[in-house]
């Protein structure tokens, strides 16, 4: 291709050229487009690909029910390839070119941060289905995953309880990025407020995809041998977990000695590990595949049929996607349009039954109410729920434990503000 | 031409010089992974002298050149140039700047550049990066280059990439580059390898002409060529000097005959 050739294509409207940029085949009757922004290649594909499939399944199902507002839904799938700038670029493409009504996507915080400005600028809706560090509430984003107070805090409460082994000594082990950093800051503050002393808390960070855990694990072993009941709270990120657990197993650390409470290890991750040595280790989620409810069983059945794989597992972010999608559908029907502004206003207050019983409610701070479960790993790679919160816990955008955010409050209904400062009484930031 | 290669101005340090010799190689030893390439080689060369070095393969001819041009550091011994400079302590560039030019055994010219550019790169003059970026070398007149190409008979090919030249032509181009460098001492390694007799003859004449106002060391196998040079001859063997003198005396020397025919 010559220079002129290329330029005429690129310049005479990147629009024209880029017009060929999507999977969608222009369909005859009018459809409502929905963007799916999950990495299908690169390091995050491990976690995100399933979410793409769930979305496709849900959309497919909705269409069987006759779509939304009498129109069929049409999924627009793109691959941001675990590359954060590419996330922003693809988001832009989805909104500006494909004119999607809403986008479901992102897993890592950095990908969300990277697309945020795009959604604000082009005023569209992002449903974010993964548990995260909080400290955020944006008008255009709806957080259907857990905030720290819906996962970390209850988990620690459980470990402190008698059932949880009345833990006295804490290892906060995490991958060195923002989610573990913030979560651990929150937990540290919380533990101290519960009277835990500094020398009984060990905080430790390892790089992404860390694979040689010998030293770290032996450190934990040593720390755990101080005569007090010790537990590990792990915010280790997906990829590094397998070698971490393998090393724990090898060095003979059993859950009965030092239990590990993980926030990023679900059924999906366990599928990659031989769980027999891990029996008894814990995870805190708002959903477990093993929870027996009619909705859940139906969902699992549909999923396994959709994947044509009877062994396919479900996990928490999948339920979060499910809740988010259905809330969006309800909001659209309530608003009678897919216009973002209307839908954004319609969403707070929308309710959707959880797969695990109870109903999730979209709160004015764009987070939702969730039940919290603690599960123990079983030999079959599933979780046995050993504890659950009495009632649903509302998600807090701003953590009460952190200096910077304890005065902040998010309310998009009354205050129309994501970071209203109760002290100064004004809406901070822009 | 004569302008291009005028005699160097006599340097001020003439008084303090350790030796009158232009090049004074004293008892240098070199070892590669246990193999002793040079075992105490000594040699002196007077200003303006031409010297032919002969010797069987592995005698250490090229290694000696390497030691003089700074490519190889001798383990022991010293190489004094112009009475004051200890070459064993300098790198290639510095030695070249002193006015020692070298022509390699296997002709190495800059294949991807035109014949003229090859000469341009070699031309005597400031060699600093900045100078070549803005300075003098960007404004060299065509005449200066052509004069040299004339001498080595490559004027017709000035624009062609050096890669297109024949083997012999590359040899000549390299000699041309030596002239452009206008060194006080030329080290010429097997200049006529793979040349026709006619070319060899011409090369010999050229070298004799150069020798009129340059010191030259020629390493060569070809006895006829060496004879044609009409100069003093040093025969190396196993990294040391075996014999030295006129071509007749050396070629008459029984030991030389032995090492040549003995193999």
């Amino acid at each position: 291709m010559t220079w002129k050739g290329w330029l005429s294509r690129a310049a005479v409207a990147g629009g024209l050229a880029l017009g060929t940029l999507t999977t969608t085949v222009a369909s005859a009757q009018e459809t409502i487009k929905v963007g799916i922004l999950h990495s299908l290649s690169g390091t995050m594909a491990i976690s995100e690909t399933t979410l793409k499939d769930v979305m496709l399944m849900l959309i497919d199902e909705q269409n069987k029910k006759g779509g939304v507002l009498g129109k069929k839904l049409e999924a627009v799938v793109v691959d941001p390839a675990s590359n954060w700038p590419l996330f922003a670029e693809k988001a832009r493409e989805l909104i500006a070119k494909d004119k999607v009504a809403a986008v479901f996507g992102c897993w890592t915080s950095v990908s969300r941060k990277s697309v945020l400005p795009v959604f604000k600028e082009l005023n569209n809706i992002l449903f974010y289905p993964v548990q995260y560090e909080g400290e955020e509430s944006e008008r255009n984003v709806f957080y259907t995953g857990a905030a720290p107070n819906q996962q970390a805090i209850p988990a620690v409460d459980y470990l402190m309880s008698e059932d949880g082994g009345s833990t006295k000594r804490w290892v906060l082990e995490g991958t060195d990025y923002v989610y573990p950093r913030t979560t651990n800051k929150i937990l540290e503050a919380y533990l101290k407020s519960k009277g835990v002393k500094d020398e009984d808390i060990m905080i430790n960070y390892t790089p992404f995809g860390f694979s040689d855990w010998q030293t770290e694990v032996s450190k934990i072993k040593a720390f755990g041998s101080a005569g007090k009941k010790t537990a590990v709270v792990s915010t280790v990120n997906g990829d590094a977990n397998v070698p971490f657990y393998k090393e724990l197993g090898n060095q003979g650390i059993k859950a009965t000695d030092i239990p590990v409470m993980a926030f990023s290890v679900g059924e999906e991750e366990l599928a990659g590990i031989d769980t027999k040595p891990l029996v008894g280790n814990l995870a805190a989620w708002n959903y477990f595949e093993s929870i027996k409810t009619p909705e859940n069983e139906a969902f699992i059945k549909k999923w396994q049929e959709f994947k044509k794989n009877p062994k396919a597992v479900t996990n928490d972010p999948m339920e979060a996607s499910y809740i988010g999608f259905n809330m969006w559908v309800k909001a659209v029907e309530k608003a009678g349009t897919t216009a973002p502004d209307k839908v954004i206003d319609a969403l707070p207050g929308i309710e959707q039954a959880n797969l695990t019983g109870g109903t999730a409610k979209m709160l004015p701070n764009h987070h939702i109410t969730k039940p919290v479960f603690i599960g123990e790993i079983e030999a079959n790679g599933q979780f046995d729920v050993v504890w659950k919160t009495k009632d649903l816990i509302p998600g807090e955008a701003w953590s009460k434990q952190l200096e910077g955010s304890k005065d902040l409050e998010a309310d998009w209904v009354k205050l129309k503000c994501g970071n209203y400062n109760t002290k100064t009484g004004k809406c901070g930031g822009a | 031409m004569s302008a291009a290669i005028a005699l160097p101005p006599s340097d001020p340090v003439h008084e303090k010089r350790l030796t009158q010799a232009l090049l004074y190689v004293d008892d240098i030893k070199v070892t590669f992974d246990g193999y002793r390439a040079l075992r105490g080689l000594s040699l002196t060369l007077m200003p303006g002298e031409m010297r032919a070095i002969i010797g069987p393969n592995g005698a250490g001819k090229t290694t000696m050149m390497d030691c003089i041009t700074g490519k190889t550091r001798p383990d022991t011994g010293q190489v004094i140039y112009d009475g004051v400079h200890d070459l064993t302590r300098m790198d290639e560039a510095a030695i070249a700047e002193l006015g020692i030019g070298r022509k390699f055994q296997k002709p190495t010219v800059f294949e991807n550049q035109s014949v003229a550019d090859n000469i341009l790169l070699a031309l005597k003059g400031p060699r600093a990066a900045t100078a070549s970026l803005f300075g003098w070398r960007n404004r060299v007149g065509r005449a200066q280059i052509d004069a040299i190409l004339e001498t080595v008979g490559l004027i017709a090919h000035r624009a062609r990439p050096a890669a297109d030249l024949s083997h012999g032509q590359k040899q000549w181009l390299e000699i041309g580059m030596l002239l452009a460098q206008d060194p006080k001492l030329l080290l010429v390694d097997e200049p006529v390898a793979g040349m026709t007799d006619a070319e060899t003859e011409a090369t010999a004449t050229l070298l004799r002409r150069i020798a009129q106002d340059h010191a030259v060391i020629v390493v060569e196998h070809d006895m006829h060529f060496v004879r044609a040079l009409q100069c003093r001859v040093t025969c190396l063997h196993e990294g040391a000097v075996l014999a030295e003198g006129s071509i007749d005396s050396v070629s008459a020397d029984p030991r030389v005959v032995e090492v040549y025919l003995g193999r």
Binding site: T49, E162, S218 | D33
Partner: protein
């Protein structure tokens, strides 16, 4: 597993032979067990363990294996063997409807381990007795003292006796005012002699013991053990370093052939490792379905297969792409990079992007204690394996005619060809060899790392650094480099932390290359120059 089931059944019928009267004592315990409150169940466990009911052992084991069921309405308890449910009290088979499993969590597992320990102290099998003693030691329950004493009286095996004494000492020290000062002092010595981190924990716990002498003894014990452990820490680091080094060696050694010897900047090297890992996965899947008994053989079987798979792919790549690029190393970089992308995506679309489970055979799981230095079997095997591969490769290159030809070709292609060596095939097989070795490495790495499409990416850079640091084209260099980097890394890690340690190492390598521009074992002489 199966054997223990059989044992269990035997125990079971033995139990039923007993008169029903003996059981009444434990009815209360059963009542507590038939509950969904962990607190009740725990109480039930304690009661059962002390009830002297001969069924206690089997019941507790059933409980920990999730084979104990209860019927909420009438608190009936039943144990599941295979499919059948048998009522605990009546011994009659019952229908499963209405029964719910009695659930256990960590807290209960701990309790059960302790009780079972006490109950098994007299078991006929030495191993059982030892593990029982250890369980009691962990439990540190004064209630176990009588049982321990009787057991000690009968115990013949020296090792078991010692661990029982330790357990006894631990139990003694458990309740502050419990035993006499003399006994406690003796106990402290026993514990100190044990000298591991558990012992340390117990002694630390004595900081506020009523008796001054005990406090001092404990304090001495603590400092004694600590100094010893501080010493061990260095040995431990060295070992960790070696095992990390062996992993690096495995990852890099294939590259030492394709890159080091052949001069191909093989960016697809990591993917060869990945292929090896996936081969292991497939082998294990097959074994799981067809012949579970062979599971321990999965790795020995996988090794040759991985070698062949990766090797074949390697040869394919060489024949189709790389052979057109000899003498143009940089082009090989670009092409192989493309190939690595393709291979990754291929695996991703075949096996899916998620991790695959590769289990550890029995001989590779667990750890053993060597003079207080805990060595995990998995790591040990990998070290051995890495060295074995290294030796084998060296022999292939040095002692076989193939190796001779390889070296000939890589040193002087034209000359070798002139001597009638089929250079194209030598090239192909050499590349195949390098790739195959990478595949074999994949088998080992599947034991310690994710088996995912990204597996290879994690090792490619380290591998290149190792080869370059060791000196291109020199296998011994690769060996030394890998071990040096591994050990250095592990000694840095405790002080600098994992990330900073690695950064420091990289900087060191960069600076080192300035000093030795051709790596640790560079070749001197004219050949290198020019």
């Amino acid at each position: 597993m199966r054997r223990c089931l059989v044992l269990l059944l035997v125990a079971w019928y033995a139990v039923w032979a007993l008169p029903a009267a003996a059981q009444t004592g434990s009815d209360a315990a059963y009542a507590r067990l038939a509950s969904d409150s962990y607190a009740d169940i725990e109480a039930g466990i304690a009661a059962l363990a002390t009830s002297g009911d001969p069924k206690a052992g089997p019941v507790l084991r059933a409980l920990i294996d999730n084979r104990l069921f209860y019927r909420p309405d009438d608190k009936a308890l039943a144990v599941k063997d295979g499919a059948a449910l048998t009522d605990l009290r009546t011994g009659a088979a019952v229908s499963p409807d209405g029964f719910k499993p009695v659930r256990v969590n960590n807290r209960l597992r701990r309790a059960i381990d302790a009780s079972l320990g006490t109950l098994n102290l007299l078991a006929p099998d030495t191993a059982t007795r030892r593990s029982a003693a250890d369980a009691v030691f962990k439990a540190r329950d004064a209630a176990a003292l009588p049982a321990l004493d009787t057991a000690l009286a009968r115990e013949s095996d020296v090792g078991v006796k010692r661990s029982m004494q330790e357990a006894r000492a631990a139990a003694l020290l458990a309740k502050p005012g419990g035993a006499s000062e003399i006994d406690r002092l003796a106990a402290v010595d026993t514990i100190q002699a044990r000298g591991d981190s558990e012992a340390l924990a117990i002694l630390r716990g004595l900081a506020n013991d009523p008796a001054q002498s005990v406090r001092d003894a404990a304090a001495r014990g603590v400092s004694g053990i600590e100094t010893r452990q501080a010493l061990m820490a260095n040995v431990q680091n060295a070992w960790y370093g070696i095992s990390l080094g062996s992993v690096l060696l495995l990852a890099a050694i294939g590259l030492a052939i394709t890159f080091g010897v052949m001069g191909i900047i093989n960016m697809a090297h990591g993917e060869m490792v990945m292929l090896g890992a996936y081969t292991t996965y497939l082998v294990q899947e097959l074994i799981r379905q067809k012949a579970p008994g062979l599971f321990d053989w999965s790795l020995p079987i996988a090794i040759p297969l991985a070698f062949l798979t990766a090797g074949a792919v390697g040869i394919l790549i060489e024949r189709t792409v790389i052979r057109h690029l000899y003498g143009r190393p940089l082009e090989t970089l670009l092409a192989t990079w493309g190939i690595s992308l393709i291979l990754q995506q291929a695996v991703r679309s075949v096996f899916g992007p998620t991790n695959r489970e590769v289990g550890a055979p029995s001989y590779m799981s667990g750890a053993f204690d060597l003079f207080g230095l805990s060595i995990t079997w998995g790591r040990l095997w990998i070290v051995v394996f890495a060295l074995a591969v290294f030796v084998a490769l060296n022999l292939t290159l040095k002692a076989t005619s193939f190796g001779l030809k390889t070296r000939a070709v890589t040193q002087n292609r034209r000359m070798a060809a002139a001597m009638g060596i089929r250079t194209p095939w030598i090239d192909a097989f050499t590349f195949g060899l390098g790739s195959g070795i990478a595949g074999v490495a994949g088998v080992a790495l599947s034991q310690i790392d994710n088996v995912s499409p990204n597996l290879g990416q994690g090792y490619i850079i380290d591998s290149f650094l190792v080869v370059v640091f060791g000196g291109v084209g020199n296998l011994w260099g690769t060996l030394v480099a890998a071990l040096t980097l591994g050990v250095a890394n592990k000694f840095l890690e405790p002080y600098a932390g994992a990330v900073l340690g690695k950064i420091l190492l990289l900087v060191f390598i960069i600076l080192f290359i300035q000093k030795r521009p051709r790596g640790l074992f560079a070749l001197k002489g004219r050949a290198v120059e020019a």
